[in-house]
Symmetry: C2
Subunit: 548 residues, 2 copies
């Protein structure tokens, strides 16, 4: 290895070394020098139509890959990624934001350079609010240390970081990288022992324990650790909505999604009647908890997340989630539970009926049969998420949705990011018409890269979730011929369906069209909705109504 | 007037009173209660496809109307507007951002509400970086005072402000508004007198004085003040690119756009050879100054902006732009200049040639003939801006472009905002393919509201400006059939043109299609460009090339 590299080269080396293969973004003049270096590197540069699209794509990529990176220009680029990076922060997705910036030299000469908002550090100050570390590189000497420290924070916290590269720094010479030192997070050994001892005692004496697993299992790559615990103990396991597919959903001990009164009644009963709930890596968020319809008695819970372990009402701070799960698996928990699990009622085979108008409920029943091992599910916000919650995901990790931050417009660019990482899995994408309109242009990037998702636009001509909370004319949107996007892009196949038999016909064609994207415009009644949304809407409308 | 109103009602009353007629945004559950109040008010609620679109639309609306407002939900909505609001900050456009937020009551009960990023005040902290005032309303009593103070800052500084309304505050009772007190900005009388005396003396002794006027003339509504000064003195006047159309461009004293070596040579010579340059309301930015090719000797300049007046190298701080212009108009400036102005060479009549491929230069030559009094020009960033700089705008204020902040994607949503305000003016829109792809969905909102712009997509299959700075594969983008948008929207008329005679034919049809939008896909050679861009590209590429 040479003793010297450039600042840009150093950063690229680290990305490659840490497993980033694709980088998303839109170029701009303050970052073109670095783009040249990216193009010359082994990284695959994926140019998106918008920076927001790059943000969502990178978020999805990072969820699957364990690390992702995007690269954009200063302010007019970076500020457009803010919402998607905020979502990655809220849902713990390890995204590295790399932004170009005016050269330090030219800043001194001229205060009003294009793209500047207020001060030259405005963008960095803004990103400090949505990242766990942010740095503006100001000289070549300190660049290697600062880059390493920032990337380390991203990996450790599984949350976004921000690196700003002034354009006159990128090509300056700096020390070549030494091999990346993986800094394994440490637990306080005594705290860990005490927490495990206490938890094991609670679990041993429980008659109906249950595990509730969440999204951090995905983020910290603990799926196999969890599976060992699940299979050793024999406990039934439920997942939160955000953690959906944390174990394969055909696993015999898997109950389903727990989301309070929004979810399936049998899952709710099993979880809420448990005498000990072992919560692993779950965010206790409003939507995860069925908008507070969840009834979990804290004095019967063990709640372990990446920041520490809470048992009943007390907290062990310096205990890492992985260490806790692994130690618990080795601990004496008493005999394996052999209690018979509630046999899931297998749904009846779906029979499409001729001329029967499509409904959300029947559509997802059909999809539940359709999904195979070679698919992944990507789901936007709204009724498609609630309707999709009970789909049976055959493998781990293959359900991607921003179920906590709930930013509309996630699905289309996330499809780009997810399939760039796993090209052999065909994405099945559920997106409402409102969400589709927000980021539809990234279909262009999907088309350009020869990806082959099947996209279902659940078209009910408006913001459906909101209709059930508080209806008004502002919830209606313009009805596009969504299935005509392939004509606009000159790539792909599209069709519209009003009835179950039309859906069936299009499904066959879309399945065969493996060479590029398929898009099906599903006409739904504006007031049709999933069961879960009906329950959710009622709960939310109680809150949103202004006090008179 | 009743003695009591609600917090939401108070804010709406102020918007109406201050001349806001349309409000742009996307609803979301944290703001639905306020949306209900908006719908019941006299304001016209314009739902956009994206919040970024609402931001650009409001910016354009505010530029024309003197004040604009947008209303979005918390974080997933607000953060999407950040780039457009930053642009309004950078270019001084008075935009009021109104964001919903979780109720104060529910925050206390549950820390992980959906859409929350880090803390409940994260969004406000972020907006503090791109606004001149920001406030989160926390109780009904202080709401009237805080709302007034924040709106006053918006009007005074012509820059964005941020008002956050928790959903449980909107309907609380508060004091009814008293009539708005217009707070006229004050100058320090002695400073004003001294500045005017000094400036007048400089101008009296100058033999070849010239006025260079900029965008603040638009923002502060000083077009007529400027015109009086221009016509009293007889001085020739040039405008900056951002200030284009600050005087009607057919005025006999108008020279053209001054932008250093990028602009027309005759304008450059007149301005740079002047022995006194009176600069009024211009941002001295890099692009305005032809990327520093401008040669202005500070010791011959009088430079008045909203923050104060600089004469040569000294500053008078507390002198307002309007007072300075008006006092200067009344001052003794010597005899009116009668020196003959360089007679503008009228371009030869445009003759389309059959089968001749379109070029940027010939296209704008054609447009220069086409533009009429019933049009306004809306221009995105890139070569369409540089090419459009020499168009002759017949009236004041009817050229809208983000020429300093230069955020791509401005034009389509800005067309929405601008024509909502001036429905009788038909927008002529110039947008590159890259910029079009960024915010194209707002065509839907344009279609929905029956607006009738003629949109020219300058399609050179990539980021053309960047190609001239630093070329690479990242500058190529996917070639859409842009003219098929009307089929997707089921509204409007579209066509594509490769040659001058095709353009001519489409121009006739688009002109006749007055009932809804027209979009023309102009196929251009990827390396074709305006003269101005050729010069600019050369200047920029010297800067962007990394130092080896």
């Amino acid at each position: 290895m040479p003793k010297k590299t450039t600042v840009g080269g150093y950063l690229i080396h680290r990305l490659e070394e840490l497993g980033v293969k694709d980088i998303f973004g839109v170029p701009g003049d303050y970052v073109l020098g670095f783009y040249d270096m990216l193009v010359e590197s082994d990284l695959n540069v994926v140019g998106t139509c918008t920076e927001a699209g790059a943000g969502f794509a990178t978020d999805a990529y990072a969820r699957i890959n364990g690390l992702g990176a995007l690269c954009i220009t200063y302010c007019v680029g970076g500020l457009n990624t803010l919402n998607s990076v905020a979502g990655a922060y809220a849902e713990k997705s390890p995204v590295i934001v790399i932004s170009g910036a005016p050269g330090l030299d030219e800043r001194a000469r001229s205060p009003l350079l294009h793209h500047k908002v207020r001060d030259f550090d405005t963008q960095k100050q803004i990103f400090e609010n949505v990242t766990v570390a942010s740095v503006a590189i100001e000289n070549a000497e300190s660049a290697p240390h600062l880059i390493d420290k920032t990337i380390d924070a991203c990996i450790r916290h599984k949350r976004p970081v921000y690196i700003e590269l002034p354009r006159d720094i990128v090509n300056l010479s700096c020390a070549a990288p030494t091999p990346w030192k993986k800094r394994a997070p440490m637990s306080d050994k005594d705290a860990l022992d005490e927490a495990v001892t206490e938890a094991a005692a609670m679990l041993r004496s429980a008659k109906r324990p249950v595990i509730l697993a969440g999204v951090e299992i995905h983020r910290f790559g603990l799926q196999n650790d969890l599976l060992r615990l699940v299979e050793k103990t024999g406990y039934p396991i439920a997942a939160t909505l955000l953690g959906k597919s944390v174990v394969r959903e055909s696993h015999p001990q898997y109950l389903g999604i727990y989301e309070g009164a929004m979810g399936r009644e049998d899952v709710r009963k099993t979880v809420e009647r448990a005498d000990c709930v072992l919560i692993l890596g779950a965010f206790m968020t409003d939507i995860n908890l069925g908008i507070y319809t969840a009834q979990l008695d804290v004095s019967r819970t063990i709640n372990a997340i990446s920041e520490g372990v809470s048992i009943k009402h007390h907290l062990y701070k310096d205990v890492k989630l992985k260490h806790f799960i692994d130690s618990l698996t080795r601990a004496k928990l008493g005999p394996k539970k052999k209690g018979k699990l509630r046999r899931r009622v297998e749904p009846k085979p779906f029979k499409p009926r001729k001329n029967r108008p499509l409904t959300v409920a029947r559509f997802f029943a059909r999809m539940n049969e359709y999904l195979g091992e070679r698919n992944m599910v990507i789901c936007d916000i709204g009724d498609c998420l609630f309707g999709a919650a009970d789909l049976v995901i055959r493998k781990q990790t293959e359900f991607i949705s921003p179920a906590y931050y709930t930013s509309m417009g996630f699905a289309i660019p996330a499809t780009l990011g997810a399939q760039m990482r796993k090209r052999h899995l065909r994405p099945i994408v559920f997106v409402g018409d409102g969400a589709f309109q927000m980021t539809c242009q990234e279909l262009s990037t999907i088309a350009r890269h020869g990806l082959n998702p099947i996209i279902f636009v659940l078209n009910n001509k408006g913001y459906s979730t909101e209709r059930f909370i508080n209806d008004g004319p502002y919830n209606d949107i313009h009805d596009w011929a969504y299935h005509k996007w392939p004509e606009l892009l000159r790539v792909g196949w599209g069709a519209e369906a009003h009835t179950e038999d039309e859906l069936e016909e299009h499904l066959t064609k879309a399945t065969k069209n493996t060479k590029n994207l398929s898009i099906i415009n599903l006409h739904l009644d504006p007031y049709d909705r999933s069961q879960a949304m009906e329950r959710l809407g009622k709960r939310l409308s109680e809150r949103v109504k202004p006090k008179k």
